[in-house]
């Protein structure tokens, strides 16, 4: 099963964008989200995020990611709603006043979390890591070692996520209640799970490091690539949309 952050092949306009644009545009959205407190702008960004999924042909993956993010966002929403005490009381839960400002802060916080995470994850799903590494090295002149480290880290996310799933299953098979519906209990159970994940991750990285060393990783002294990242009109339009959104974010 293909998970989040895996590359989804295709030939859509988003697939053909310059990898640099695919990194810059989510960063621009991130700026917009922090610049504005306007719920409508944040909702608009959410629609835009889903449009990225639709145009990139990964709408189902976008919805799946949104569903996972909604759980974390709901947790954040409840937490902020209970903690923020400024503003007028709207209603009471167990004697605790929930204020209008608390609700608004909680809503914007939850929306921000979704708006920021979605575009970066989706754009990464539409980008081949080798293209991104090449663009970082050849256009932004980032040393190959660092570009390789960044792309490898991104590439390992789905691998670790799949490992985590298997480890959870292994612990469930031993009677650990990972299949509980109680969210807080589940979070508490994750601690013993971190040990096997850490061990398997370190082992995997050690092997990967040895494998690249054996292929002469440190002998590379010249930047070369058979593909060159090209900045074209769609890239310009995308970045202009990003700039427009930033302006909108600061104005509204």
């Amino acid at each position: 099963m293909k998970g989040l952050m895996n590359y989804f092949p295709g030939n859509t306009i988003l697939h053909r964008l310059d990898p640099r644009t695919k990194i810059l545009f989510p960063l621009m959205i991130c700026i917009v989200c922090f610049a504005t407190d306007n719920v409508y702008v944040l909702l608009g960004i959410l629609v835009l995020d889903l449009m990225i999924g639709l145009i990139g042909g990964i709408f189902r993956q976008a919805l799946r990611l949104l569903k996972s993010l909604l759980k974390i966002a709901a947790f954040l929403f409840i937490l902020q709603m209970l903690v923020v005490r400024d503003g007028e009381a709207v209603f009471h839960i167990f004697g605790l006043a929930i204020t209008d400002e608390g609700l608004m802060t909680a809503l914007t916080g939850a929306l921000r979390l979704i708006d920021i995470t979605l575009p970066l994850a989706l754009m990464i799903s539409l980008t081949q890591m080798s293209d991104l590494a090449n663009a970082l090295v050849s256009r932004w002149h980032i040393p190959y070692k660092y570009a390789f480290a960044v792309t490898s880290a991104i590439r390992f996310i789905p691998v670790f996520s799949s490992d985590m799933q298997t480890i959870m299953e292994a612990q469930t098979a031993r009677g650990v209640e990972f299949d509980t519906k109680n969210f807080f209990r589940k979070v508490g159970l994750i601690v013993p799970l971190c040990v096997p994940l850490l061990i398997s991750s370190v082992k995997k990285i050690e092997t990967a490091a040895m494998a690249v060393e054996l292929r002469g990783f440190n002998l590379r002294n010249k930047n070369s690539s058979y593909k060159q990242a090209q900045f074209r009109l769609p890239d310009l339009i995308t970045l202009l949309i990003g700039v427009g959104l930033i302006v909108l974010g600061f104005v509204l």
């Binding site: 189902r60 298997t166 480890i167 292994a170 469930t172 031993r174 040990v195 061990i199 398997s200």
Partner: protein, 271 residues
Amino acid sequence: MIRFENVSFGYKEEISIIRDVSFHVEKGSITAVIGANGAGKSTMARLMRGLARPDKGQILLDGVDLKTMKASALAAQIGYLFQNPDRQICKNTVKEELEFSLEHTVQDPERKEALIQEVLTALDLDPEAEPFLLSRGERQRVALASALVHKPELLILDEPTTGLDYKECTQIMEYVAGLNQEGMTVVMVCHDMEVVLDYSTRVIVMTDGHVIAEGQTKAIFQNQDTLRKAALLPPQIIGLSQMMGEGFEGISTVAEMADAIEKKAKGGAEK
């Protein structure tokens, strides 16, 4: 013991991995699931343990639908050994590892201690050893011990002999065979046809998500058509008996082969 009834299963957005599979694992048997890579063997083992839920059909454990039970609640009834023991290990010593297994199922400290000591002795494990510093074979034994410490009625082994040398493999399989003698039902997914021939009583052959044959181990290995369909080679002794032709049919052990050769030689001398 466990019954699959028209079970189909697929991971999201992909085609079915298990397609309309029906079979029955008899109580007290050692059943091997064999097939080429990607045939759906490990997925079937996960379904059997309740770690995945079928899209269609039902899986019955002693007549009860697995869907109605939580996977974690089945730990005392079904033991599961994963292909990679490192997935299961999470504590600093072997003993802590076993205690962790019982933490969720056994409350009485004395009973807990007795169960741990029993499995430590049986699998020849040092309780104070650090699991991650042990060899692959020893880690496999620790993982097996943590699956067996509950004394489950059904034990599922996913590739139990992968990465083990001959001695380690024999040690684990002999112990499992001993448990089977005491009444434990065993299902193992296995690529090693020699191990399947030596230890299993029944075989389920899978290819492309379907069960294409099931039956007694020897009978399945004698059926060249089935093995060809599943892209499998028979154990060497059976392959040899098939090559030898007349007078060597149905041979599945070295001793039987020696007898047959002796008989043939005597027959030749008399002529």
